[in-house]
């Protein structure tokens, strides 16, 4: 290699080597220091680009939701044309069913950062951060149940570890409060990786398949009553004095959309009942729908009698049933028991 060529190549090697060393140093930094550097970069150099990304994400979410909005509007118009009063009741009922309506205060609604898949590393990013009141260790939920926990909060973004993350753990109990344990991800291969385990359940506390598991409120992270999932079976473990149950999560990866972050200002009593009401209302609607079907069947079997006006009466009843007014509302059955006295500290978990 000639002297001039060597002279030309040396600065390139210096620049490339320097860049590589800098990147390597960043990789080797301790997690807190690295997070600080990343946050500084996010808030300074890359701030305009990330703001651009957040705006694009909102637009994309709006476009993706357009079909659902159009369908909802179409259904709404049909309902208004057919039965204006029932339509109005439905709208009111749907508004009541909304999680935000149930929580009333102490929460932040956030969109997911685009381009990140739940499956990639069991984390999701949120387009809201400390400026909106989000802080580490706050629970992240949807109307279906628990998604995870805020791990890091920058001013405008935050990072969430989901229930599938190996570091995730939550103190849990059966919905009737008879069994307590700790829920962690089921670290198996394949599709079973998307399940949870409820460990450390007392041996005499047997849980049947289908039992709903909720957060117990022990510890300082997750308030009581957030739905985690449903028991689908017991796992055989070497432990002799406790049981481990396999739990199907309430929030599946595909079902994670915009989320709600529970902030300290929330009312714990409201949080404890937010998912209970949804479950009970769902069951109530199922019962009403079943009775409606039975009524329709009986009318069909009556044959000619239906022509004398019975059909109209049953249809009117059915309309009233499917759009329950406050007078017809069935009081919610207690799925989650009232708050218990504080449990011994040994059971609390620190995530």
């Amino acid at each position: 290699m000639s002297r001039s060529t060597r002279r030309a190549v040396r600065p390139d090697l210096v620049l490339a080597g320097g860049s590589a060393v800098l990147a390597l140093l960043l990789v080797m930094l301790p997690d807190p220091a690295r997070a600080t550097v990343a946050a500084t970069l996010r808030d300074t150099v890359f701030s305009p680009l990330l703001a651009l990304e957040a705006r694009a994400a909102r637009t994309a979410a709006a476009l993706r939701g357009r079909d659902a909005v159009l369908a909802a509007r179409g259904g709404q118009v049909s309902a208004e044309v057919a039965l204006a009063e029932v339509g109005a009741e439905n709208r009111t009922l749907r508004a009541l069913l909304g999680l935000a309506g149930r929580l009333r205060q102490g929460f932040v609604v956030a969109d997911l950062v685009p381009g990140r898949s739940f499956e990639a590393d069991f984390t999701v990013g949120l387009t809201a951060g400390a400026d909106a009141g989000i802080a580490p260790f706050q629970p992240v939920v949807t109307a279906r149940g628990l998604v995870g926990m805020v791990e890091r909060a920058d001013p405008s973004r935050s990072e969430v570890i989901t229930w599938a993350h190996p570091d995730f753990a939550a103190s849990a109990m059966s919905a009737d409060g008879t069994a307590f344990g700790i829920v962690k991800p089921h670290l198996a291969a394949g599709a079973r990786r998307w399940l949870l385990e409820m460990r450390g359940v007392r041996y005499r506390s047997r849980l049947d398949t289908g039992v709903v598991v909720v957060t117990s409120g022990l510890g300082s992270t997750f308030p009581r009553g957030i739905v985690i999932g449903t028991v689908i079976g017991e796992l055989a473990t070497p432990e002799q004095w406790s049981r481990t149950y396999l739990v199907a999560p309430a929030v599946l990866p595909d079902g994670v959309g915009p989320v709600v972050v529970l902030t300290p200002g929330g009312d714990s009593a409201r949080i404890a009942t937010a998912w209970r009401r949804a479950t009970v209302d769902s069951a109530t609607r199922g019962v009403l729908a079943a009775s409606d079907s039975l009524a329709a069947d009986s009318v069909a079997r009556q044959g000619p009698v239906a022509d004398t006006g019975a059909t109209e009466r049953v249809v009117a009843d059915s309309v009233a049933l499917t759009g329950p007014s406050p007078r017809r509302a069935v009081p919610p059955a207690p799925v989650v028991p009232p708050a218990r006295p504080p449990a011994p500290p040994a059971r609390a978990i620190v995530p």
């Binding site: 090697l13 620049l15 590589a20 960043l26 930094l29 680009l49 590393d121 993350h165 990786r193």
Partner: protein, 174 residues
């Protein structure tokens, strides 16, 4: 030396190059949210490679560092991981450019495909064990599809950079 026209006269259209790179960077932050997350299209990677074959290897490595930091700050990987991979890819692309190819769009597409796929594989291996459910299906199906789209983007960027050639001038203005 490390400017856009460095490297012995390669890439004599710095304005076009800067515009294409800027468009790719903006595309990363504005177009990507509209694409499915399973198929990651590497706008930033294409920008790095596009720049790498037009500047000196040292400048290409710096571009890889900056773009990698940008990717890491909005991603889930530890800061610096993507930078390390992209510094290597950019430096190699800049060095290979002198040996193997100039501004051939198809070659650039092939390089982008390989870089994207290999980069995904390396980054998947770089994740701490147990923190990812990326399966062989993801790496053998979705990642190559993303790499193909990235290659298409690279070909498009090169064609775009070559399109408004001066009358009588050679493609790419060279």
């Amino acid at each position: 030396m490390t400017g856009l026209s460095g490297g012995g006269g390669r890439g004599p259209r710095p304005v076009v190059t800067a515009l294409v790179v800027a468009a790719l960077v903006v595309g990363h932050y504005t177009v990507r949210p509209f694409l499915p997350p399973r198929v990651p299209v590497g706008f930033l990677l294409v920008g790095v490679l596009f720049l790498a074959v037009r500047v000196r290897p040292g400048a290409a490595a710096v571009a890889g560092l900056i773009a990698g930091l940008a990717a890491d700050t909005s991603g889930a990987l530890p800061l610096g991981t993507t930078s390390l991979v992209w510094i290597t890819l950019a430096f190699l692309a800049a060095r290979m450019r002198a040996v193997l190819f100039g501004e051939q769009a198809m070659v650039a597409g092939a390089v982008a495909f390989g870089a994207s796929w290999i980069g995904d594989l390396v980054l998947a291996l770089a994740r701490p064990s147990g923190t990812s459910a990326l399966s062989a299906m993801s790496l053998l199906l979705w990642s190559p599809i993303g790499a193909l789209l990235t290659a298409g983007l690279a070909v498009g960027a090169h064609l775009l950079a070559r399109a408004p050639s001066r009358p009588g001038g050679r493609p790419g203005g060279r």
